[in-house]
């Protein structure tokens, strides 16, 4: 036993020569796909903030991927101090399957533990050659639609529910909504595992006419790849996406990082952090900052998942579980 510990410590210290120093703490933030740039900025700001407050030197390590896949990794033992995933259900899974945190985790921080929000918009080719204006255009035959796989990606589930919510409001019946969403998924040539993979498929590989995307991801793609390639189209109705954050209690208690991890999460609710969210194209919960950046974000009518689907637990079980509605309507190869 002792030997194994020593060996492990040796290998680790070879990779991490600084880890042994005192007054330095490492956190691991397991996040979803499009938050890479957001947390780069946020981690740097938090490290400064924490040291200014007299805390230790904090290094926050990041792991990114499709939200469900990331949750799976935490369940399988990836030792995340905090998880910042795309939607509440994936954190529910961690609470339920691995019992790493209490089931009522979402009540622990303000605003459903979601310090930044976003929504779902469309990204189209420059000049919008297919004249895509709203969800209806995505269901038309001959439109090629890019969206990630709802089984592995959180963003993809928001996409799916946004389309469903639109159809439900327009047609007024679950059956019609199901038909409508099935039509859209018939137009999907490839399902990537995470949002960023889909962005690359659409923008870099040039596949598809329209990409259903996180708003922040759409803005980022335009910023990174130049405004000459793609345009944003805002649908008439979309969903309020709330990506939640939380502590992984069993991990922070074991590693003794609860205090700094809690501070890391609380920092989100400061004006400074809200500015970081805005600069990375996430919508803010702080009304003052939101007013300041109001021009940056298009006005969209938004509905909440709780109002239309009765919350994530219900939505997940009905739509995305094995054999659920998504499995029934998405049958690749069949037209």
């Amino acid at each position: 036993m002792k030997l194994k510990h020593t060996l492990l410590a040796l290998t680790l210290s070879a990779v991490l020569p600084v880890a042994a120093l005192a007054a330095e703490v490492n956190l691991l933030n397991v996040s979803y796909d499009p938050t890479r740039e957001l947390y780069q900025d946020y981690n740097a700001a938090f490290a400064k903030f924490w040291q200014a407050k007299g805390g230790e030197k904090v290094t926050v390590r990041q792991s990114h991927g499709g939200a469900a896949r990331q949750a799976r990794a935490v369940i399988d033992g990836l030792e995340a101090d905090v998880v910042t995933l795309a939607l509440a259900y994936d954190i529910d899974e961690i609470a339920e399957k691995a019992k790493l945190l209490p089931a009522d985790w979402q009540k622990r921080l303000p605003h459903n533990s979601s310090p930044y929000t976003s929504t779902i918009v469309f990204l189209v080719r420059k000049g919008n050659p297919k004249n895509i204006r709203d969800w209806d255009d995505l269901a038309k035959p001959g439109t090629s639609v890019i969206t990630p796989n709802p089984k592995t990606s959180g963003g993809a589930r928001w996409n799916y529910l946004a389309a469903w919510g639109y159809a439900l409001k327009k047609f007024g019946s679950e059956d019609k909504a199901r038909e409508f969403v099935a039509q859209i998924y018939k137009n999907v040539p490839v399902l990537d595992t995470g949002a960023r993979g889909s962005t690359t498929t659409f923008v870099e590989r040039g596949i598809g006419d329209v990409f259903i995307s996180w708003e922040n991801e759409a803005f980022l793609a335009i910023k990174e790849l130049g405004p000459g390639k793609v345009d944003i189209v805002v649908p008439s109705l979309s969903i309020l996406a709330e990506p939640p954050i939380t502590l992984v209690d069993r991990v922070v208690d074991k590693r003794g990082t609860r205090k700094v991890a809690q501070a890391y999460l609380d920092f989100w609710y400061t004006p400074e952090a809200q500015e970081i969210a805005a600069k990375n194209f996430y919508r803010q919960i702080d009304p003052k900052i939101a007013a300041k950046y109001a021009k940056q974000f298009p006005k969209v009518a938004l509905f909440k998942i709780d109002d239309v689907f009765g919350g994530w637990q219900k939505a997940q079980k009905l739509h995305f579980a094995d054999g659920g509605v998504f499995d029934q309507i998405y049958q690749p190869g069949k037209k």
Binding site: Q62, S63, I75, G77, A98
Partner: protein, 288 residues
């Protein structure tokens, strides 16, 4: 000069009829060689060139920034460590397995051969997943490992395990046919002359197979450094900690840092080229 010509001339004449029977006309040869070369250029040289071109597109400075930033350095270090663990282990295992298979008859020999081939026939993703199933928190050994605070997957041991698994066949597969072709007469002679088992191995067996070993090690090393699928499953993708170079390339590419992605990719390509150069040098040294 003229003497040489005089000597050569009859040979040429003497060879001519033989040539006609065994070789094709100039045009056919030209076309075949041309085809082979353009195939090679298209599939190997162009992508290799593209990697370096893309890597250096933003200038040498950007290139060096990309390969010296901390996450890149840690991925390079980890990749070298993985190779340093996987290659020696598989060298020892490969030689032992090939020796047993080629020189002895025993029950279960074909089973052993099948097992050695298993990593070739199983998809690397599955190779990674089996370790998650065994060592993961919800897996067979997970709770026990957790209780004793031993991390296997999403940490270095898992990456080592997965890499060792996928590179098992390289040395053994290289040596088995070679040793089988050589037979065991020389070893038997050594034993008859009074050599001990170890003496026989080090003085007779090993010198006979050294080129096979070098070749196997080179292939094993290349795969150990380049493995993506199996490592991706067990790594957890923690930047600066459990990202190997191939994983780091993917991350950079997904973060719109195309030049940086190709810069790290070019390092992987360079590592491969360096291994080839070392191999050629060693061969040359031994021959001279």
């Amino acid at each position: 000069m003229s003497a040489e010509l005089a000597i050569n001339a009859p040979q040429v004449i003497a060879r001519k009829p033989a040539r006609k029977a065994t070789s094709e006309s100039g045009l056919v040869r030209f076309v075949l060689i041309g085809l082979a070369l353009s195939y090679f250029a298209l599939l190997v040289l162009t992508p290799l060139f593209a990697v370096f071109y893309e890597a250096l597109k933003k200038g040498a400075e950007a290139y060096f920034t990309a390969i010296t930033e901390p996450d890149a350095l840690s991925s390079i270090r980890l990749t070298l460590m993985v190779a340093a663990v996987a290659v020696p282990l598989n060298l020892v295992f490969g030689v032992a397995a090939a020796w047993a298979i080629a020189k002895f008859e025993f029950r279960g020999k074909s089973l052993l051969i099948t097992l050695i081939d298993l990593p070739f026939s199983v998809s690397p993703v599955i190779s990674g997943l089996i370790y998650v199933l065994v060592f993961g928190l919800q897996g067979w050994l997970g709770p026990w490992l957790q209780a004793h605070d031993i991390k296997v997957i999403f940490a270095l041991p898992g990456i080592f395990l997965a890499t060792v698994f996928v590179t098992v066949p390289f040395v053994a597969r290289e040596l088995i046919p070679l040793m089988q072709a050589q037979g065991s007469e020389e070893e038997e002679a050594a034993l008859v002359l009074g050599a001990s088992g170890w003496q026989t191995f080090f003085r007779v067996t090993l010198p006979n197979i050294k080129w096979g070993i070098v070749y196997g090690v080179i292939l094993c090393n290349a795969r150990a450094m380049g493995e993506f699928g199996a490592v991706a499953v067990v790594s957890g993708h923690i930047r600066g900690l459990t990202n190997t170079m191939p994983l780091h390339v993917e991350i950079l590419y997904n973060e719109y840092q195309f030049s940086a992605a190709f810069a790290v990719a070019s390092l992987l390509a360079l590592l491969a080229l360096v291994t080839l150069v070392i191999k050629t040098l060693v061969e040359w040294r031994v021959k001279h």
